[in-house]
Symmetry: C2
Subunit: 219 residues, 2 copies
Amino acid sequence: MLFIPGLQDHDNRLSRATVVRFSLYLRQLEDRVLKGEAKVSSKQLGEALGITAAQVRKDLACLGNLGQPGIGYSPDELIAAIRHILGIDRTWSVALVGVGNLGRALLRYKGFPFRGFRFVALFESDASLVGQRVEGIAVHGLTDIAKVVHADKVELAVLAVPSDAAQSVADSLVQAGIKGLLNFAPAVLRVPADVSLVAVDLTVQLEQLAFQVHTHYVM
Amino acid sequence: MLFIPGLQDHDNRLSRATVVRFSLYLRQLEDRVLKGEAKVSSKQLGEALGITAAQVRKDLACLGNLGQPGIGYSPDELIAAIRHILGIDRTWSVALVGVGNLGRALLRYKGFPFRGFRFVALFESDASLVGQRVEGIAVHGLTDIAKVVHADKVELAVLAVPSDAAQSVADSLVQAGIKGLLNFAPAVLRVPADVSLVAVDLTVQLEQLAFQVHTHYVM
């Protein structure tokens, strides 16, 4: 399944926009738990995300009957329910392909382990890195993808490789049985229908920004 | 204006989804120009993006009367029209704040200069880097943001700083007159209404992927 953020309006049973909002609610709720807040209202969540309280209530209704009218929601209950619906109430074993600057930045990104994404294997074409450890994780050559994915029970893979290598790396990962790819290479990848693909095109993000600033200028 | 990909369904005059598709058409069209193709059909573009030819024709109609029925579109004409509507038929001067692994990866990302985004100034809190050059660009201290933004006519800024520093850096950039921020820190930032903000939350992307794989498992 090809999935480019913003391209499809609907996928699976929840809309993509709803799923993104669940991730954003999660961040807000975790902040509130850290601050010791025991209740949160749809109004507060709406204000934090820049959307209406009615939209918040509609989204959270997908999680079951969790809120109490006039009292609000328990952040802990909402966090558990959102993590469950997103499939992140568990640990995911993730491989990273490409241990350059972007790969190293991703390895150090604290949000991933906090949310249950655990890097268990690294792959790199640069022979001088193969056999070494980066952030405590062993670096393997690309020819070992199938063996390592199987041995380490890798479920998801993050591609931080140059564009011209991305499709062949994706093919190797899919052949090895990986069911989900997060692609940072600015290349459109083809994967079988039973493999999920999320593409992060950093240029698209900067173009979105330029468009907004440009439109502000014009208006 | 707060803009988180996937959060709003409509902004400005074109929908966010349409603007993202324009970026993706651009990539396809550039590939085709490189291959020497003089014509492209809505069917070909639709297949490349995984959407219908009807959707492609609807999107491209926003650009004016460019295609010829039965013959197709000129990739060069479409590229010029899309670059114009997105506001990227010009060069944007960009500052990068945070010259760690992520910042360095972004500096080396070839897509940016190719699309007219030119890094002209770097800012970093690490005093040992201030005064040095990274990828040929001078690194300044955070206290020099206002001075350098003005001197180098910086228009957009990319934030690749830790979460706890992001809001204060954003405040400094906004005070210095920056009108667009691309934020990689996993923090929700507040900016004035006349400043555009695009947030790239890498955890959200990985959560989207986990959700898709999780849903495939369930179905």
